[in-house]
Symmetry: C2
Subunit: 539 residues, 2 copies
């Protein structure tokens, strides 16, 4: 290939980007993201098939022909009920292959049968429980003496508690345990759980939810962070691994090979957590830019070309963290990642003194629009029932300051005709194609307003004492602080839709990481810079 | 260093071998084996300290000064009761360091306090159990219909069963879980369990036994074979890893560097299973010799110098398997090891067609001597009570054939004076320094006898349907067959003491591995060659 041909090749778009497919549900999003693999497999499933498994010599997934449901169910039964022998490997392979061959509907039927027919033996539990109630509790105050009498009176407790623990394990636990110790089995379980989550997202089936919560707990104990290997991903890595980075990059999609190469090249770093049981596929990865200052927009990070010399960098900016396994949702794999990456970067480049992120605010617009919508609804109801005393309802809250209200209503004649500033705002923000971003007048009114409310959203909006925004919660529990919010930092369609284009810098101060994590955990306290407090909100 | 100096260095004995320290208990043996490390640490403990942890940057074990017991107990309490934050790492490090600083007695006191004071909350269990008994069991025949009524009637069951499962977890589980996800924590847990086992070997403390069985189950699920990496250990590996091989080789001790280098050199292979959470230290390793024929004595394997050219080899002989973690006793790590090693060797050297072992028979002499002793005791009692009709007792069994009996009594005048052949045999075998091995007359009588009884021991002596001999059981459950027993195959002190110098070849026939493993598992059937049947015993 000549130079020009190579340049074209490197710039060729890697995946068709179809904005209509982008969804707010992270699950649906990740399922869409693996779709190219499925199409390559020509399967007719519902986006549940695994990525192709070239890297795994011991597991062969075939999606060509659907096997008869009853046959797959039988292999599942063998996998659960068979004696623990070497032959089990063949049975487990047979079951996993059979499962992959099934359509979405058949998979659902199989999973329901697993959840219901392989549940626990309630008659046995009841029997043990009755025996347990017959035991006499030893005196608590004798516990410290450790005398022989007390020891032996406890022996019946130890025995029954042990039996009870085992009886309370559903029969399907055997299948999970066996798959976990089977080559390729952990990856299979992660796919199985992704299927379960996508079924539960459509329909709340209690037995399946109980199975899911059981499986999630198991996966959590098997995926110990201590067993995860931190690997620096470079252009020298196998294409099969780099392909996964392209497929799973969830924050800022990688458009072509040139883009990918830049993210792995000079002035950039990419680190991934690999688990030995899922080889050649990072479970989570983080992208880092080495910069002179904390970047304010994602454009300068993605298109900083040529990048600055590495020895001039003083800031390591984490600009993207993606997890690759929808089936591991809810299992915190990132916990040690940031801390370990900081340690590694600091060791390599001691001149780096600032560790910051440039992060999306995925829940901001959703929160703001639903807030506006509910207030408008309240206002309507109030209008109908008792005049227009808007402060009458205790749920009523004008989230606008008086001058903001005025400015919004004064934007145009059309705006003046509306009921209040919030209606104007709602209409502006929900018009298609984001016309407000192209009007200097609208921007001058909306910018201070959206920035102020964004600061409020990040610092004050909580759910069970924790930040409502999922990305904020992730960094705060890792010990970061909220440093700065940046206007028009992500002008992509996704950026505008999620957060009106605003992005946020979280900063990790090495000397405060543990203290901040601790205080966030125990009291929900969010540390923030003076810059943020300028917006008149306090955490 | 000149050539001569290097030669001396390579031949220098690596560990003082003190035969008086060798014990029949595998636990005591392994604890003795880690002793050199402890001595280096100058600690005054009872052989419980860990090997030095150079390879693990995040865990610093200090054994210099014993910390006050109450302080360590307090850090244990914090490690269990603290909120889940980043600060936990510091607390866990503090606890593990404190634990290592304690004397054996203080460790025991701490473990007992953990077992008793951090047990489960029995009042809470009782409360949940009462609620559970109040629930009405749904009809089993409705299970298939999946109707909404049945689903919702089960919801209370799912909830209570989940709560009950959690309530049945002892409080110390939190400590185990946290250590498992903590860098260096899995290794710490393995050392903790080694301590527990050594305490239980001396004294049966029920609460500690309950804790041990809980910890063992946890360790079993965390150490998935799928997460173990098969690594070929060579002379190019770090000295810190090779040191572990020397320290833990349990079957045929490595005498000097030359011996170690030979075991990793031409015509030899060494493979180890490494777990990512315990870096630089194989959990189990296997040594392989590439030979023309299945070796009959260990001497020819250990001293085959120079070895044959590798391309002339047709047999891969497994001559040593050692596990390195006494704290992982009872957890089957070797399950997939042999199968994976066979696959690897076969891929590298397709000309190898025979996969066999040359294995010790660690329980043979112990079984034989206790059999003889009990028969002699029975004979005495019978003598005293009712004349000399030895067949009168139903426990009486003359394990000797008439011609063997005669030959034994005819060995000398002294022998003739004894009661029967079994007494002669018992006395011959229990004289110190194994004089019988130097007498041609005694050998000619004892050889056929010991070989026949050894075949019987291997093929017929069972415990719960499985081979009594632990090494036999290991290979049989992996799918091997008993091929041949070899006279005077291991003339070392240990070999003579364990099995009268006899060793056994197990053979793995690729085409039969799964079938043999299956039939051994389900019916206890032991496959054997015609050679063995020559001794007149059948499996």
């Amino acid at each position: 290939m000549n130079k020009k041909g190579l340049a074209l090749f490197m710039r060729a778009r890697m995946r068709p980007r179809d904005s209509s497919k982008i969804s707010l549900s992270p699950l649906a999003e990740t399922l869409n993201r693996v779709a190219p693999d499925n199409q390559a497999n020509q399967s007719g499933g519902r986006g549940m098939e695994p990525a192709s498994e070239e890297g795994n010599e011991q597991t062969h997934f075939s999606c060509r022909n659907e096997r008869p449901f009853e046959l797959v169910k039988e292999s599942m039964h063998s996998a659960i009920s068979m004696n623990k022998t070497e032959v089990l490997d063949a049975v487990l392979n047979d079951f996993t292959e059979g499962y992959f061959s099934l359509s979405g509907e058949s998979r659902k039927a199989l999973l329901l049968s697993l959840a219901k027919e392989y549940d626990l033996n309630r008659a046995q539990v009841r029997e043990l429980i009755k025996q347990y109630l017959g035991l006499e509790l030893p005196k608590a105050d004798a516990a410290d003496e450790g005398n022989v009498g007390e020891e032996s009176s406890l022996s019946a407790f130890y025995r029954l508690e042990r039996n009870l623990r085992h009886a309370l394990k559903p029969m399907y636990e055997v299948l999970f345990e066996r798959l976990n110790t089977h080559p390729g089995g952990l990856k299979f379980l992660s796919i199985l759980r992704a299927d379960i989550l996508s079924i539960l997202a459509e329909e709340n089936i209690l037995s399946l939810r109980a199975l899911d919560s059981y499986l999630k707990e198991k996966l959590g104990t098997w995926l110990s962070p201590a067993a995860l290997e931190l690997h620096q991903i470079t252009w020298n890595d196998p294409a099969s691994l780099l392909e996964k980075i392209v497929a799973y990059e969830a924050v800022h999609p990688i458009s072509n090979l040139l883009d990918l190469k830049r993210r792995l090249g000079i002035g950039r770093r990419c680190f991934g957590y690999l688990h030995p049981a899922i080889p050649g596929e990072p479970l989570i990865f983080i992208e880092v830019a080495l910069l002179k200052n904390v970047a304010q927009t994602i454009q300068e990070v993605l298109w900083d070309d040529p990048p600055i010399l590495e020895h001039e960098a003083t800031c390591a900016l984490f600009y993207s963290i993606s997890s690759t396994q929808p089936g591991l949702t809810g299992i915190n794999l990132g916990k040690f990642l940031i801390k370990r990456v900081i340690t590694l970067v600091k060791k390599d480049m001691p001149q780096i003194s600032i560790f910051a992120t440039l992060s999306p605010i995925p829940g901001y617009m959703q929160w703001l629009l639903s807030k506006l919508a509910s207030q408008l609804k309240l206002a309507e109801t109030d209008d109908a029932t008792r005049a227009s005393d808007q402060s009458g309802s205790s749920f009523w809250e004008n989230i606008l300051e008086p001058e903001e209200e005025r400015a919004l209503l004064n934007l145009s004649e059309e705006c003046k005709a509306m009921k209040n500033g919030m209606e104007v705002m709602f209409n502006l923000l929900t018009t298609n194609s984001y016309t407000w971003t192209n009007s200097p007048e609208m921007l001058s009114v909306l910018k201070p307003l959206l920035m102020r409310l964004c600061a409020r959203y990040l610092l004050q909006e909580k759910k069970r004492g924790k930040a409502l925004d999922s990305v904020a919660n992730f960094h705060l529990q890792n010990g970061a602080m909220v440093e700065r919010i940046n206007w028009m930092a992500d002008r992509s369609e996704k950026g505008l839709r999620q957060s009106g284009g605003i992005m946020v810098n979280y900063v990790y101060r090495l000397e405060n990481i543990e203290e901040y994590a601790q205080s966030y955990f125990s009291t929900g306290q969010i540390h923030s810079s003076d810059d943020i407090l300028y917006y008149g909100v306090e955490a």
